[in-house]
Amino acid sequence: MYYNALGERVSRRRYREMLAAAKNRRELIAAGLHNRRDLFKMGLLTGTGMLVAKNGLSSRAWAQPFQQGPQNICAGAGLPASPPTRSFIVPLPIMPVAQTVSSLTPAPTIAPNTGAGEVRAAPHQAPALGFPFPPPKLYRFTQQAIQVSQSPDLPLQTVWGYNDGHHATSPGPTYAAHYGVPQLTRNINALPPLSQNGGFGMPSVTTHLHNAHNPSESDGNPCDFYEIGHFCDQYYPNVLAGFNSDHQPNGDINEALSTLWYHDHRVDFTSQNTYKGLVGYYLLFNQFDTGNEETGFRLPSFPQFDVPLVFADKVYDPISKQLAFDLFSLDGIMGDKFLVNGQIQPFFQVEPRRYRFRLLDTGPSRFYEFFLTDLNNLGAANPFWVIGNDGNLLPAPVQVQSVRIGVAERVDVIIDFSQFAGKTIYLENRLNQLNGMGPVNAGQCTDVNGNPVPTMLAAGQGNLLMQFRVGSGHVQDDSGNPATQTFYQLPSTDAEPRITRTFKFDRLNGQWSINGQFMDCHTFRFQVQQNSVENWVLTNATGDWTHPIHIHLEEHQILSRNRQPPPLAIERSRKDVTQLHPQERVLLFFRFRDWLGKYPIHCHNVVHEDHAMMGLWHVQAEGDDVLVP
């Protein structure tokens, strides 16, 4: 029998937790926190008398006690620490390629088929512009609860995923789409009823195809959500920007997109629903990015050597061992478990040759800086090539030792494993982030002993995200050498903007805002003129916070950061998410072409997004002159 301080019987597990808590407490006292009263005041004692696990210290807990002291102690965020899990014992899951269906019942209609339960904001724009209807490829995606294993050391998890009729997975099946082949997805909401969400998640959805040059009614606008039993037919024309404007009829090849993703975008609940699993990849191929290393740009062949990776950091409840979401965070949620393609710290067996990896940060709030780490040679730089930013191929590959992305950003990279033949190496995140504010800024804060907390952790001290087991011997590799490759040219940014608009990202008493206003599905902030050029200035008024800002419909180019050209070579590129760093002013170039309708601008730290750091605008034949929308 085990007893607590009150003489009550407790389980052995509870007793072990009590002992661990006592140990934590001794360490905290050793760190100069002297008595129970202090601990309670700090919130380090929970209501049930447990000490908060140290690596799960909540910002809410940390905030109070250090106000008297001169030091600015780094505040952690999040829930109690997850239970332990073993690393690198499960192979990397690969999401299946999405399968088409021969027909849909009822047949798709141009106007929303409300009688059959369809919820869509407007009739399809594409057929009137000459696109076939129905298009040649049809998909039927059912959003439903599924049971998955995310680690052999955790029980099965009930998450929400996508079922294409062949596989029900989370992340969902990977679309392999082609330019010139339009397609339509029927997205069906078959999620479990209210009260069966397992603790978080809103069974009400709208599926955004992130980065697509899509008509508004198929964009997956946050306000176009629909309930259980309803569906939305989303028409994806797979067409280059400019097809209906400055590059008729086929669009501008220099606007080609490669690595897109889809995710739930339900207003106010996107963080919960994406955390619960509603994310997936959408790859877009063409005559250059062919998916075949013997043709076009000769990029490593899909799917064997072209591998999409979905990164997510999550927390599991220490008692139930079920996926946990911090329902009451306003700042951002930090996971202490790192998942790749839905599995905690998997390994991947690779051949000693070039691979293309598509890296996607699905958040909720974390920035990553990816390094290749050889634990037996921590001093080695281990360079690799970035070929695409936000999934858009760069003019030419850029060799790097690391690359940083925020939530919703993607990078396409080429790793040549021939240099690591026979070795085990790791993809490591060395960026230090403790809470939703973003990466730790230099000099921002200290640990409890007064030592400065670094932005970048030493090699091997970061988060080992996945393990590569590199085979040896000679293998075929017909992919091109990144050192000599070139891809698309950047579209010109010389055109005079019709208007330059300014967006101040701010935090007013904890309320995330853009120009002092909040998300509201019935308020359009401004009107963009169809087929016009605009410059947008994004300014960060939130102090030490970093925000990944996403704009729908059109990509942008970063003209300047604080009036200087963007310092990183990989930012001389087309983007759909731009990191807005502390104290920064970023100038963006846009051409809004082809489609009409409503779209949002928002922070893609999904916790900020859900707390109103978003605004709607629309594209119409006539634009307005609102400078500060």
């Binding site: 029998m1 085990y2 007893y3 607590n4 301080a5 009150l6 003489g7 019987r9 407790v10 389980s11 597990r13 009590m18 002992l19 808590a21 006592a22 407490r25 601990l39 004692l45 929970t46 209501g47 049930t48 008398g49 000490l51 909540s58 910002s59 809410r60 807990a61 905030a63 109070q64 106000q67 600015n72 505040a75 965020a77 209210l194 009260s195 969400n197 397992g198 603790g199 978080f200 809103m202 409840d317 008692i319 329902l327 009451f328 306003l330 700042d331 939703g436 504010m437 007013l508 008493n509 904890g510 309320q511 805002s513 909040f518 509201d520 599905c521 019935h522 859900d610 707390h611 109103a612």
Partner: protein, 223 residues
Amino acid sequence: MSLAGLASFAQASGIAGIAGIAQAAGIAGGLAQPGTAEAEEAVPSPRERIRRLYFPNVVLRTQDDKPVRFYDDLVKDKAVTINFFFARCEEICPLVTSNLAKVQRLLGDRVGRDLFMNSISLKPEEDTPAKLKAYAEMHGARPGWTFLTGAPADVELLRRSLGFTNPSAKVDKDLNQHIGNVRYGNEPLMLWAACPGQARAEWIVESVSWVMQPAAKPAMARG
């Protein structure tokens, strides 16, 4: 007073945390007795887990000087809004409170039946029930909207548990920068979100309705 006695005193007087301290003292003092293993502690349901993590059942006092338990009386089985304010706040509070008054008017008699509004004082030692009552009346608050005060430690525990905090210690201690968001949620359905207290009142009503409507019983007599 024994530790157990102290804990029950704490419970009876609604002082949060003393029970926790007593228990922690036991932890540090190693009062737990060794013995044979027994069945593992039951895994709490998701709803129970949320209650334990976020809803301390502290005793607060309403503007009518009535004692209420936060979880049992204010949150359990209800759709609610929760925000923090203080009566003499001259910055954001008047804006949010008058906005919430408009929300209440727009929702009509559903407040107090399908939705319960709660505003908790950040200056509990200053905001007595009488002051809260005057404040509520000044803003035209009607039944179904409860203004709350309590022991400072309890209010602080609630503030932290519900995430009305700032990760910067400097900002967090500045009452003029206190969090102005309004939590909305449905306890039995485990649906929780938040919107800015300064959002358009009509939009707050629409947002709250996402968690409220499912809670309304279709068979409920509405005249």
